[in-house]
């Protein structure tokens, strides 16, 4: 077997890693730690995956632990479930998360219900690239959280930093429940996210949000790419308005860390949810309902949201930019709430 691929030794060498490399390291370390962990997906072997997350893994771990599958997301996800029944811990890659759709049936009906139906815990990770801004058009740009958020039994993770990505991947693989990990393509190699990670075997626990910026005037609840847009907006508001925005990065979407949300809203009295996903039926709704249930008396202004528009993701740059939530949208909404 080949040695460790360079792409997973940066932390050892105390070099900064991108979010993508952090994911590679997380996967690699878990495979080293636990021989029950194995990978399946399209073109993950020789090619190393469409985004090269598993580059070099085939050489190191061999064909039995890095399995190139036929193009059949439903079939190989079902097979992953079967392998998990028998004590293995499969990690499945969707080439683009948009292509998780053919596996919708097996994920929601079979995998999510396994424990409840008495067929045992189902440790299984499904991961892959999501998100827009890459001119990928309607089928290479989707965010898929709302296809699964509604289904009891699933966990959903959406990291926004290299540190979190590695820690969440490792926690997801160790979790005894099925976990979906959404990895934003626009963050994969974003230079500003490069960081030197701790050398120790850390995890980031599932289900815990993270306050990435403290503030007392407004709570922005967000995740993924929008964490960074929100922080930039917060910076503008700090500079130009002297208004302090608290930015909460959910990190895990399901289960939702409503305690953290409620705690922050109780402090600021104002809530803005920002998500890249389309508006209607997005996660902002659930968050609003929970805050209404648990912190209504603390609200000093309407709960609002900044999101993509209710449309498929268009291809052309100008259309996609219009489609996606922009920093100015967040600033506008925050100013509106500040003045409320």
């Amino acid at each position: 077997m080949g040695g460790k691929p360079d792409s997973v030794t940066k932390t050892e060498r105390r070099e900064p890693v991108t979010l993508l490399e952090a994911i590679s390291e997380g996967l690699f370390e878990e495979m080293e730690r636990d021989e029950r962990v194995f990978l399946m997906g399209e073109d993950i072997g020789v090619y190393g995956g469409a985004f090269k997350v598993t580059r070099g893994f085939l050489d190191h771990f061999g064909e039995e632990r890095v399995i190139d599958t036929p193009i059949s997301e439903g079939g190989f996800t079902g097979a992953a479930a079967g392998a998990a029944h028998m004590g293995l811990r499969p990690v499945v890659e969707m080439q683009f998360m948009d292509f998780i759709s053919p596996a919708y049936d097996v994920i929601t009906n079979y995998i999510a219900t396994s424990l409840y139906r008495g067929s045992g815990p189902l440790p299984l990770v499904i991961r892959g690239p999501v998100g827009g801004g890459n001119r990928g058009g309607p089928f290479h740009s989707q965010n898929v959280e709302m296809a699964f958020f509604h289904t009891p039994g699933l966990k959903i993770v959406y990291p926004s930093t290299a540190y979190d990505a590695k820690g969440l991947v490792k926690a997801a693989i160790r979790d005894d429940n099925p976990v979906i990990i959404e990895e934003h393509k626009g963050l994969y190699r974003a230079p500003f996210l490069r960081e030197v990670l701790p050398e120790d075997d850390y995890i980031v626990p599932l289900g815990k949000a993270n306050v990435v910026r403290e503030g007392s005037g407004l709570t922005v609840v967000t995740y993924g790419m929008m964490v960074h847009r929100s922080v930039e907006a917060a910076e503008v508001l700090h500079q130009e308005d002297g208004f302090e925005v608290e930015v909460l990065d959910l990190r895990t979407l399901s289960p939702l860390d409503d305690e953290a949300i409620v705690e922050s809203v109780k402090k600021t009295g104002r809530l803005l949810v920002v998500h890249e996903d389309t508006r209607t039926g997005g996660i902002a709704g659930e968050i609003a309902m929970r805050v209404s249930e648990k912190a209504f008396e603390w609200l000093d202004a309407p709960m609002l949201r900044v999101t993509a528009i209710d449309a498929p993701v268009p291809y052309a740059g100008a259309l996609e930019d219009y489609f996606l939530p922009q920093i100015e949208d967040i600033v506008t909404a925050a100013r509106y709430l500040a003045a409320y």
Binding site: P70, G75, G82, M86, L88, R117, G120
Partner: protein, 356 residues
Amino acid sequence: MPATNSADGTALVAGLTESQLHELYYALVRVRAAEERLELLHKQGHIGGGVYRSLGQEAGSVGAAYALDRRSDGTGDIIAQTVRACGALFLMGGEPLDFFRQYLARATGPTGGKEANVHWVDYRRGLVGPVSPLGTMVGVMAGITLSFRLKQEPRVGLVFAGDGATSTGAWHEGLNFAAVQRCPMVLMVEANQWAFSTPTRKNTRLESFTQKAAGYGLHAESVDGTDVLDVYEGTKRAVDRARAGEGAGMVEMRYYRLKGHAQHDNQEYVDPAELKAWEERDPIKRFGERLLSEGWATQKTLGALKARAEVEVSIAAEQAVGEPIPDGVQALDAVYTDRGAKTPWTRLETPDPIQA
């Protein structure tokens, strides 16, 4: 116990000894007795959900499972049963008691009332109950048997699926995965000529399901599903190949669904003459007659086996009827390994969501 010759005698047919043949007969009459009892319980109003029979198909499931290495410690072969493969379920070690508990939604049953009928799982006995969406279990079994290959365990998995289920994408993707990955899996096509009210010719244009096997590069057997020995032998060949590392295979069992899709279906749409012809080929009658005519069993033995099966089933049914149903609140359990669902706040003593 591997289904090879037992120590107590010589092989009479298909490599099976007299006591093994009697065991097969017992398995056949037991599943029939269990399902007849089930029907009765349904008529008596004991059952909330759907009730399914495998009448006419018992030899398929019994003969197939008999070809397996059946154990109860989680190291043997494995099946994914269907409602038409109830005979296999019992033969693997699934208890008639649990069967009734499942249909009766008893708290004591393997799913505690959360799931119904043969939808239950017991990895130690090699049972992986299905979900309803058809075709799903083919992919799941591909993965189960992939793990056998990866872990170099000499185990085989049998996945039962109806002829109608062959039309699903899940079936195709699962079978192709098993073929490419050379998984030790055998797909049992339950070719009972109907998918609910839809005849086979409306589900596919081919003549025999073995024609599908070629499209996956698979070896296939076609067996007379009303002849328990033919099913046993054909399945055994396929299972042996799979165990020997030759990859996945397929067995088509040719028979006929003699009852409606479920209790609520009076199968008006079936040609009575056709039904009649197939009723003549009742697998239990056929096997019984063969046992007698070859001198492998006496009328008395068969009568005793049947009586024993009926007693076993009867005791199980009565016990299940007397057992408790689950407490509503158990609906909250086991949604995740680390947490259940939340109690609705409207059912708490202090119905204050702000304090909840």
